[in-house]
C-alpha cells in the first residue's frame, strides 16, 4: 500500500491493518470508540503484554476515523518538538518560521498518541501534565512568545512489565482498557488476517482490503451518527445516583472517575441507539472508567479487573 489519499489509507507507504480486521481486543476497541463519540472523556490508556496489537488498534482506529495516523509523541522526543520551536531550514536562511510542536499539532488533530507511554522521560510527562490540566500551552523560549488554549485526547499504550505511570498522568486518561491474549479460535483468525494483510498490502486494488475499508467506513458512519446524537441522550437522575454510589462504594480516588463513567455510558447508549442512559450502560463502562482510579492502582498496584471486582460491580449495578 503506497501513499494514499483516500480516507482509511495510511500515508507514506505505511501499511496498517484495517480496523475491522483486528481480531479480538473488544475492550480496547470499545474504549476507543466511546472516546471518539464523547471526546470529553479525555483519552484512553491501553495496557497489555507485548504482541497484543495495542499500537495496531490505535493506528488503525485513527486511520479509520481521521484518515491519517495520529500525532505521535515518541519516548525520546525533545522539548523543542513537544512545545514547538523554530523551523530549522528557515532559520538557516535567516528567516523566522515557527514549527508547531506536537502539543499544538495534537490540538489541531484532537488526539495525541504516546506509544510506550510508561517509558516517557519525566520532564516530558511534566509538560503534558501541565498543558493537559490547564488547557494552556505557553511557550516562552528562544524568542518565541506564545500562549494558546489547547485541547486534545490522550491515547497511550504501555506494557505494564516496564513499570507504571505516575498517578497524576494515569488520571489524565479518561478510560483504561487492557489488551488480552486471544483464545485459540481468535489466534487462528488473527494469524489469517495478519498474514493475509502481509500479502495483500502491496496490491492497490485488493478486494480484501477494499472490503476492510468498506467495513471501516460503515463503522465510522455509525460512530459519527452516535456522536451527533450524544447530547440528545437523556441521563435520568436515578442513573446519576447509581453512578455516584458505585464510585463511592469502590472508593474511587477523586471524582473524575464517576464523571467519565457517566460520559462513557452516555456514549455507549448513543452507539446502541438508545434514548436514555441505563444502569446496563453504566455496568458496561464502569471497569474502563474506574480500574485505574482505585486506591491500590494509583499507588502502583495492578489495574486488573478481577472476577471478584466484576461480581461486586454486578451487585452494585444490578
Amino acid at each position: 500500500m503506497t501513499a494514499g489519499t483516500r480516507r482509511g489509507e495510511p500515508p507514506q507507504g505505511i501499511a496498517i491493518l484495517p480496523y475491522g480486521y483486528v481480531v479480538g481486543q473488544e475492550e480496547v476497541k470499545l474504549a476507543l470508540e466511546l472516546n471518539f463519540v464523547a471526546a470529553r472523556i479525555g483519552g484512553v490508556l491501553i495496557s497489555g503484554p507485548p504482541g497484543t496489537a495495542k499500537s495496531t488498534v490505535v493506528r488503525a482506529f485513527a486511520l479509520m476515523t481521521r484518515g491519517r495516523l495520529p500525532v505521535t509523541l515518541t519516548i525520546d522526543a525533545t522539548d523543542d518538538r513537544v512545545l514547538g520551536g523554530w523551523e530549522l531550514n528557515a532559520l538557516l536562511r535567516g528567516e523566522t518560521m515557527e514549527q508547531p510542536g506536537l502539543l499544538e499539532a495534537a490540538h489541531a488533530d484532537g488526539l495525541l498518541y504516546v506509544d510506550e507511554v510508561n517509558l516517557l522521560n519525566d520532564h516530558v510527562v511534566n509538560i503534558i501534565l501541565d498543558v493537559s490540566s490547564t488547557g494552556v500551552l505557553s511557550v516562552q523560549r528562544e524568542g518565541i512568545d506564545k500562549v494558546m488554549s489547547v485541547s486534545f485526547g490522550l491515547v497511550g499504550t504501555m506494557n505494564p512489565e516496564e513499570g507504571g505511570l505516575r498517578p497524576q498522568l494515569l488520571d489524565r486518561f479518561g478510560l483504561m482498557a487492557t489488551a488480552q491474549p486471544l483464545d485459540a479460535d481468535q489466534r487462528h483468525a488473527m494469524l489469517r488476517a495478519v498474514l493475509r494483510f502481509d500479502e495483500e498490502c502491496g496490491e492497490p486494488e485488493s478486494p480484501w482490503l477494499a472490503e476492510g475499508r468498506r467495513r471501516d467506513r460503515e463503522l465510522r458512519g455509525r460512530l459519527l451518527r452516535a456522536r451527533s446524537r450524544l447530547l440528545d441522550i437523556a441521563v435520568p437522575d436515578a442513573v446519576v445516583r447509581r453512578c455516584a454510589d458505585t464510585a463511592a462504594a469502590l472508593q474511587v480516588v477523586g471524582h473524575r472517575g464517576e464523571v467519565v463513567m457517566l460520559q462513557a455510558a452516555r456514549a455507549r447508549a448513543a452507539v446502541e441507539g438508545a434514548l436514555e442512559v441505563t444502569v446496563a450502560h453504566l455496568r458496561a463502562t464502569a471497569p474502563l472508567a474506574l480500574r485505574h482510579r482505585r486506591p491500590e492502582t494509583t499507588q502502583g498496584g495492578s489495574a486488573d479487573w478481577t472476577p471478584e471486582d466484576l461480581a461486586r460491580l454486578d451487585t452494585l449495578l444490578s
Binding site: Q12, G13, I14, A15, I16, P49, P50, G51, T52, A53, S55, T56, R59, L69, T72, T74, I75, D76, A77, T78, D80, R81, V82, G85, W86, E87, L88, L91, L92, R93, G94, T96, Q99, L102, D115, E116, N118, L119, N121, R141, E142, E161, E162, G163, P181, L182, D183, A184, D185, R187, H188, M190, L191, V194, L195, R196, D198, E199, G202, E203
Partner: protein
C-alpha cells in the same frame, strides 16, 4: 556449493538470514551464544544478505543513502575484522551497516548535526540519525548489536521503538519524520544473559538461533553467494520488483492451526507462521503447509508445545480439533526435558543438522543439544535485570557524580558546569543569520539560550565489597545472611566487588579470587553465593585483595564514591599464610600464621581510616574459635554481626 555443503550451523544461519530478507516483517534476528570472534564475520554475511535482497520493498534505482555516511555507519564491507562481504549481486544496491555498541548515544540514533563551512560564517546541516530511514526506496539498513545485554539505554529504547513496528517516528531537535521501519536487526546475546535483557525487547526478535558451535567456512561471503538461498532470493527479488508480494505463498488452514498451537504467545505464533511462509518461498512451494511450520519450528529450535513447560507468556488456549499425524518409527525418540549443558564429548553427537533440503518429518521435537536449545530462554531465565530496564535509572543525587558518568546525550544547560562546547556552537549557528542582521554585522553570537551541557548516565556512588570465605559456610544460607547488604547495593545502584577464598573450584586454592560487577544483578554473584567449599582458606590474601580493591576505588573515585561497605563473611580461621599465597610455595608448618597474617592484613585495611568505608564481619559462628571474628573486626575497625544460620530477621536487623 550450496549452504548444506558447509557446516550445518552455517546452513541454518544462511536460511534464517534468507528468511529475514525474504519477508519484510521478519526484521529481527537474535543469535545466542555465537563465539565472540565470529560476530564480525557473521554480521558481514548478514549485511550482504540483507543488501542483496529485500522482498516487497522495491528495488528502484537511485543513489541510496551511500555507504558509511556519518559516524557509527560503515560500508557494507569489512566489519569487526571479518572478510569483506560481496557487493550485492544482480543489481541490488548496497545498504548501510549500523553498529550499536556500548557507547551509542541518542543523538547518533535519531538526529545528527553537521557543522558546515560557509563564506565568513558557520552553518549547520541536520540529518536523520542512523535509525532514521528517510528514503523509502533506499535499501534497508543492517543494524548489528554485538551484545544485546550490554546495549545502553538509548539503544534499548530505540530498539523497542523501531524493531518490528509498523511505524516509527523521530521528534528531536527540529527533526520531525515518520517512516516505515525496514531495517533488519541482528543481535548477539549469551543465553545466560537472557534474564538481563528486557523481555519486552527480546520479544521483538522473531528469528532466533542458538549457535555455540558455529563454524564458518573459509570464505563465508563466497559460501553465501554459492548457496541455494542466494539463487532463490534473486528470483524472488525479480518478482518483488514487479510490485507483487514475494514473501511466500499463503498458508493453508492446517498450517495456521499448527502455528497457533505450537508457538507460545500471539507474536511468536505470527513469527512462526511468517518463517514457515518464507521457507515455502525459499523452497518454491505453491502453498505454505503444515510441514513448513514444522520446518520453521525445527529451524529455530522450538520444542513442541506438548513438551514445553507451561512458562510461556500466556496460555494459548485449547488446540484446534485436528489430529496429530503419528510419528514414524524412525522419529519416535522422545523429546528430552530441558537438561543441563552436556559436556563437550556428548555435544558433537547431539548436533542436529536440519539442512535446507532435508526431508521434512513430522514435528516430534529434537534433543535440546547445544545447537538446538529453546529459542526463548528468557521464559525460564532468572530475571537479573533492573526494575523497568527501559527507563532511565533514578538519580540519587545531583552532586559531583552527576558530572562524571559517561556522556549519553546533550541537553539544555541550566548552569555553566559541564558545558558541551561543540553542541553549543552548533545551536548558536542556527541563529547567526538572524543575529548578524539584528546586530549589523560580524562576530559569532552565543546567547545563554544556546548553551548545552552533557547528559550523563548515572555513575555509581556506592560500592559493596564482599569477602566470602566458603570454608566457613557449611550450615549457612548466604543469600539470606547477606540479603540486607545486597538489597542495599541494589537500591543504591552500587557496584559490587567479590573476593572469594576457599572455593572448591578455585583455579589456585592458595589464593583469593575476585571479580567486579556493575551491580548485584550480575549472575556471577549468585554463583559465588552457592559455590562449594574447598579445603584451603587463604583469608590473609583475601583481605589483601579486598584492601587493594577498596584503595583503588577511593583513589579512582575520590569525590564521587560516597559510601562503601566491606562485608567479610568468615569464621576467621585462615590456614594459608600470606607468603604461601603470594609465592605459591609451602614453607613449613602453618600453625597460627594463617590467622595472624589475616589479622595483619585486616589491620592494614583498618589503618586506611576511610570515613566513608563501613566494615562488618559476618560471624559464621564456628566454634571453638568464637573470638576470632571479633579480633578480626577489631583489626578492621569494624563491627561483628552474628546471625543464626538462615535467620533472615536477625540479619535484617543488623543493618
Amino acid at each position: 556449493m550450496t549452504s548444506e555443503d558447509g557446516p550445518a550451523d552455517f546452513g541454518r544461519l544462511l536460511r534464517v538470514f534468507a528468511c529475514a530478507a525474504a519477508d519484510p516483517r521478519l526484521t529481527g534476528v537474535l543469535l545466542f551464544d555465537v563465539p565472540p570472534q565470529l560476530t564480525g564475520p557473521v554480521a558481514d554475511v548478514f549485511a550482504a544478505v540483507v543488501a542483496g535482497f529485500v522482498s516487497g520493498e522495491g528495488t528502484g534505482e537511485g543513489t541510496g543513502e551511500g555507504a558509511g555516511a556519518g559516524e557509527g555507519a560503515d560500508p557494507a564491507g569489512p566489519a569487526g575484522g571479518g572478510p569483506r562481504p560481496a557487493a550485492p549481486a544482480d543489481g541490488a544496491r548496497a545498504g548501510r551497516l549500523v553498529r550499536l555498541g556500548a557507547a551509542v548515544r541518542e543523538d547518533d540514533l535519531w538526529s545528527r548535526t553537521r557543522l558546515l563551512p560557509a563564506a565568513g560564517r558557520i552553518t549547520v546541516d541536520v540529518l536523520g540519525g542512523d535509525l532514521v530511514e528517510a528514503e523509502p526506496d533506499a535499501p534497508p539498513r543492517a543494524v548489528v548489536v554485538p551484545d544485546l545485554a550490554r546495549l545502553p539505554l538509548p539503544g534499548l529504547r530505540a530498539a523497542v521503538t523501531v524493531l518490528g513496528a509498523d511505524v516509527a517516528a523521530v521528534e528531536r531537535h527540529g527533526v520531525s519524520q515518520v517512516w516505515r521501519p525496514r531495517a533488519r536487526w541482528l543481535a548477539f546475546c549469551r543465553s545466560d544473559d537472557a534474564g538481563r535483557v528486557s523481555p519486552h525487547l527480546l520479544d521483538r526478535f522473531p528469528l532466533r538461533l542458538r549457535l555455540p558451535d558455529l563454524v564458518l567456512p573459509a570464505d563465508p561471503s563466497a559460501a553465501w553467494r554459492a548457496s541455494s538461498e542466494h539463487r532463490v532470493l534473486a528470483d524472488l527479488r525479480n518478482r518483488a520488483a514487479t510490485g507483487r508480494w514475494a514473501g511466500g505463498p499463503a498458508p493453508d488452514d492446517a498450517a495456521l492451526a499448527r502455528a497457533a498451537r505450537e508457538a507460545p504467545g500471539e507474536r511468536r505464533a505470527v513469527a512462526l507462521a511468517r518463517i514457515a511462509r518464507a521457507l515455502a518461498a525459499l523452497g518454491g512451494a505453491p502453498a505454505t503447509t503444515e510441514d513448513h511450520v514444522t520446518e520453521a519450528a525445527r529451524l529455530i529450535g522450538l520444542r513442541p508445545a506438548a513438551h514445553r513447560p507451561p512458562s510461556g507468556p500466556e496460555p494459548s488456549g485449547p488446540p484446534p480439533p485436528r489430529a496429530e499425524p503419528p510419528p514414524p518409527a524412525a522419529q519416535t525418540s522422545p523429546p528430552q526435558p530441558r537438561m543441563p549443558e552436556p559436556d563437550a564429548a556428548t555435544r558433537t553427537a547431539e548436533l542436529p543438522a536440519p539442512g535446507p533440503e532435508e526431508t521434512v518429518a513430522p514435528f516430534t521435537g529434537h534433543t535440546p543439544g547445544r545447537t538446538g536449545g529453546d529459542p526463548y530462554p528468557e521464559d525460564e531465565a532468572e530475571p537479573l535485570r533492573e526494575f523497568a530496564p527501559l527507563r532511565a535509572a533514578w538519580r540519587r543525587s545531583a552532586g559531583p557524580a552527576a558530572e562524571r558518568g559517561p556522556v549519553t546525550g546533550i541537553r539544555r544547560a541550566t548552569d555553566l558546569r559541564d558545558l558541551a562546547l561543540v553542541p553549543t556552537v552548533v545551536e548558536a549557528a542556527k541563529y547567526q543569520r538572524l543575529r548578524g542582521r539584528a546586530r549589523g554585522g560580524s562576530g559569532f553570537v552565543i546567547t545563554p539560550a544556546d548553551l548545552r551541557s552533557h547528559a550523563r548516565a548515572a555513575e555509581p556512588e556506592r560500592m559493596l565489597v564482599l569477602l566470602l570465605d566458603h570454608t566457613s559456610r557449611p550450615g549457612w544460607e548466604w543469600p539470606q545472611a547477606l540479603a540486607p547488604y545486597v538489597r542495599w547495593a541494589y537500591a543504591a545502584r552500587a557496584t559490587v566487588a567479590v573476593v572469594e577464598v576457599g572455593g572448591a573450584s578455585a583455579a589456585d586454592e592458595l589464593r583469593a579470587q575476585t571479580f567486579q560487577a556493575r551491580n548485584v544483578l550480575d549472575p556471577r554473584l549468585a554463583e559465588a553465593l552457592y559455590r562449594p567449599a574447598g579445603r584451603a582458606t587463604p583469608l590473609a590474601h583475601g583481605l589483601l585483595v579486598a584492601a587493594q580493591l577498596v584503595r583503588r576505588a577511593f583513589q579512582q573515585q575520590p569525590t564521587s564514591l560516597a559510601e562503601a561497605w566491606l562485608v567479610v563473611a568468615t569464621d576467621g580461621r585462615g590456614n594459608v599464610p600470606l607468603r604461601t599465597s603470594l609465592t605459591g610455595r609451602h614453607d613449613g608448618p602453618v600453625g597460627r600464621r594463617g590467622v595472624q597474617d589475616a589479622l595483619t592484613a585486616a589491620g592494614q585495611l583498618g589503618a586506611m581510616g576511610r570515613m566513608r568505608l563501613h566494615t562488618v564481619v559476618l560471624d559464621t559462628g564456628a566454634r571453638p574459635y568464637a573470638d576470632l571474628p571479633f579480633t578480626l573486626a577489631d583489626a578492621l575497625g569494624g563491627s561483628v554481626v552474628a546471625a543464626e544460620p538462615g535467620a533472615r530477621e536477625d540479619t535484617d536487623a543488623a543493618v
